[in-house]
Structure formats: C-alpha cells, structure tokens
C-alpha cells in the first residue's frame, strides 16, 4: 500500500506543480495588472501545495528523495500529472477556462481528502489547500461567467476554449490500480466519485455563462502513466535547467 500511496500523492503533487509552472508564465504578461497578480498568486498557492505534496510523497516512498529531487530530477515520462494542466496557456480565455475546469475538480478532491483521508499528514495539507483552491475556483468561475456572458467576441472565444479543452477532462475521473488501492485503504475515494458533483457544478456554471455543453468526443488520456503531450517536455526543460546544470546550487 505504501508504494501505491506514494504514486497517488505524486500524481496529485504533479498536477499542482505543472499548473503552477504554467500559470507563472503569465507573470508580467497578464491582460491587466490585477489579473497578472491574480494568476501569479494562484501559481504561488499551487506551488506551495506542490511542495508539501512532493515532500510527503518522497517520505512515503522512503528512498530519500525530497521535493527538489522529485521536481527537478524526473523526466517527463516519470511525471504523472493530468494532461489538462500541462497544455500551453493559450490566450487568457483558454487559461481561465482550464483553471475553472481544474479548480472545480481540485475543490472536490481536497474536500474528500480533508474530511475522509486516513493519512493525517495528507489530510492536513488538504485542509489548508482547500481554502486556497476555493478562492481560486471562485475567481476562475467568475471570469468564465463574465467572458461567456460578455461580448459576442468573448463568448465565441471562451466557447472555443471550452470545446478545445473538453477532451482532456475525462482523464481526471479515471481510476486504475493505484487509485483503487488508495480507495480500498481509505486514503481517497475513487476519482470516478467526483464525476457527478463536478458535472453538476459545471452545468450550473455553463448555464450562467450562457455557454453550450461541448459535444461528446474522444477523450485524451495517459498522463497518469507518463504518456504526455509534447508540451510537457519543453516546459520541464525550462523548469529544470538550473538545478540540472548546477546540481548542488543553492539560491
């Protein structure tokens, strides 16, 4: 079980880390100063969550790897984040729709962890992170409504964002041997259990934003087992270059 829990926490930490890195690309490029700060702040919260989760994953693995070893010295094939979070930022509408889709999922996942997880340390990290992701979800959701129910142009753009990102959402709710082992050990409910509350919440948001449900489509998957899009590799190259060039550097 310990090995499975390590893998599960790592997936969760990778989601936060990769999304944090993506969002930080907005720093100094935001559409307005307030939004620049907002995206950077959200990135910072996610980075903090990732640090706590990777540290815990390293301890559960028991091979002496710390947060830095896991963040900087794994290749893209060893990363287990969902594909959704590694996709390029695109325009602001793409970023905010992606953020809303993820935030609404993260709230459910952290709620379950904070309330039901038998691993006390993981529950503690979740109870802290839950407050933060609720704030993020309120922000990204508000923007999706504002843009969806905004001008003709903003409506068209975010509808297109939603349609493009939609095929990457199903992966969040997939289960495999790792998540099933963790569900059996009462670390975490099955990912599939979040599907219904997430879909209901999403439907309310889309209605309010006057956006249409994307058509059913073939879904992309593979992130949990290291089969990523081509985008992750270049993102990691940038993120990892310094500690790989100077392995013992401190800054």
């Amino acid at each position: 079980m310990a090995g499975r829990e390590y893998e599960w926490i790592l997936r969760f930490g990778d989601d936060a880390l990769v999304l944090a890195q993506r969002l930080s690309e907005w720093c100094s490029h935001g559409p307005a100063i307030e939004e620049d700060i907002a995206l950077s702040n959200i990135a910072l919260d996610l980075l903090g969550q990732a640090r706590a989760l990777l540290t815990l994953a390293g301890r559960r693995e028991g091979q002496g790897r710390d947060e830095d070893a896991l963040a900087y010295f794994r290749t893209d094939r060893e990363y287990s984040n969902a594909l959704l979070v590694e996709l390029p930022n695109g325009h602001f509408g793409d970023t905010i729709v992606k953020q809303m889709l993820f935030d609404q999922f993260a709230v459910l996942r952290y709620e379950a962890l904070a309330n039901q997880c038998v691993d006390e340390e993981l529950a503690a990290i979740a109870s802290k992170a839950l407050k933060e992701v609720r704030y993020h979800a309120a922000h990204s959701t508000q923007w999706v409504v504002r843009l969806g129910d905004g001008t003709k142009e903003s409506h068209l753009r975010v509808q297109e964002s939603l349609n493009t990102l939609w095929p990457y959402t199903a992966e969040l709710f997939e289960d495999d041997a790792v998540s099933k082992a963790c569900a059996d050990a009462e670390v975490m409910p099955l990912n599939a259990s979040f599907k219904e509350p997430w879909s209901t919440q999403l439907q309310n948001i889309l209605n309010e934003a006057k956006l249409l449900n994307p058509e059913s489509t073939e879904f992309h998957t593979g992130g949990r087992t290291g089969r990523h899009t081509e985008h992750l590799k270049s993102m990691l190259a940038e993120m990892q270059v310094l500690p790989r060039t100077y392995p013992l550097a401190e800054w």
Partner: protein
C-alpha cells in the same frame, strides 16, 4: 528548568516580526502553534504557514533561527499544516495595528465564507472608516491580501482576506 527554557524561547519568538507586515509579530498573527520540549531535550517550535505557498515562510524560519541561535542551541522548527491557519487566530490588537498601518483587517470569522459564496462584504476604509468601498481585485500585493479602494476618500488599500 524546562519551563524556563521554553519561556525564554517564547519570549524571543514574541519578538520575531512578519517580513511582509513588519509591525506585527508572528505570534500576533497566530503562526506559532506551540513550543515544547521533546524527549531528547530539544525545543520544538511548531510553525504554521498562513498560505501553502507564502514565500515569507522560509524567511520567517531563517529569522527564528537567527533570533534563537545566541541563546538556544538545541531547537528545531517544524512546519505544521493542521489545523489549517485561519485569520480567526489574529489577535484584536494585531487587527488594530493593521488598521493603523493602512490595511483593512479581516472582518467577521472565516466560517462566514462571504467571498466564497459570492456575497460582497462591507470592508471599512482603514483611512477614513467609510463603509463605501469597492473590491478592485480579489488578489493583492501578497497571497493574504485583496485590493480595495475607498469611494469616499479615493484611497486604495489592502484588505487582509478573511480566511
């Protein structure tokens, strides 16, 4: 002897300032969860971060270390996440100091979750005390603050989010 050592450490901790709010101590902000002696006679300081990613946490750990080193060699700092830090732990005196320094302190208790439920809250201006203020951005200069402006005196100000 044990309690004297703990008391001394606590009095030092009471003098460590928050790097982002240099008029408040980390104790006033409710960041010290406890200070006790373990079986090996090492003083364990439990520090809770305000936000998971708050960059000030590392600076605070360094500040605690350099403040304690002259008087106490056997100590360690543990960063604890549970129970999660809440603005409810900020003392009334600290809230008043925030106001005097131009920051609107958290209003009510975190259980209200006013922002999260989409309700707007009345945040009085820390300068002129008017209730006629507006939210400029839910994210401010640091993770713990939102950005407001007063409609009465036109002054922009930070609001320490109720969390």
């Amino acid at each position: 002897m044990v309690s004297a050592r703990i008391a001394q450490v606590e009095s030092i901790l009471n003098g460590v300032m928050d790097p982002e709010l240099p008029f408040l101590t980390i104790t006033e902000l409710g960041m010290i969860q406890g200070c006790e002696m373990d079986e090996e006679g090492i003083v364990v300081i439990k520090l809770t971060p305000t936000y998971s990613g708050c960059p000030a946490t590392d600076a605070i750990v360094d500040d605690i270390k350099s403040a304690l080193q002259p008087i106490e060699s056997e100590f360690r700092i543990e960063v604890v996440h549970a129970p999660a830090w809440t603005t409810d732990w900020i003392s009334p005196e600290a809230r008043e100091k925030m106001r005097l320094n131009g920051i609107a302190p958290p209003e009510g208790t975190s259980a209200d979750k006013a922002f999260l439920l989409g309700k707007s809250q009345t945040i009085p201006c820390p300068r002129c005390a008017s209730d006629d203020t507006r939210l400029v951005s839910p994210f401010g200069s640091t993770a713990c603050k939102a950005h407001y402006q007063c409609n009465a005196c036109a002054e922009p100000f930070d609001h320490f989010k109720c969390f």
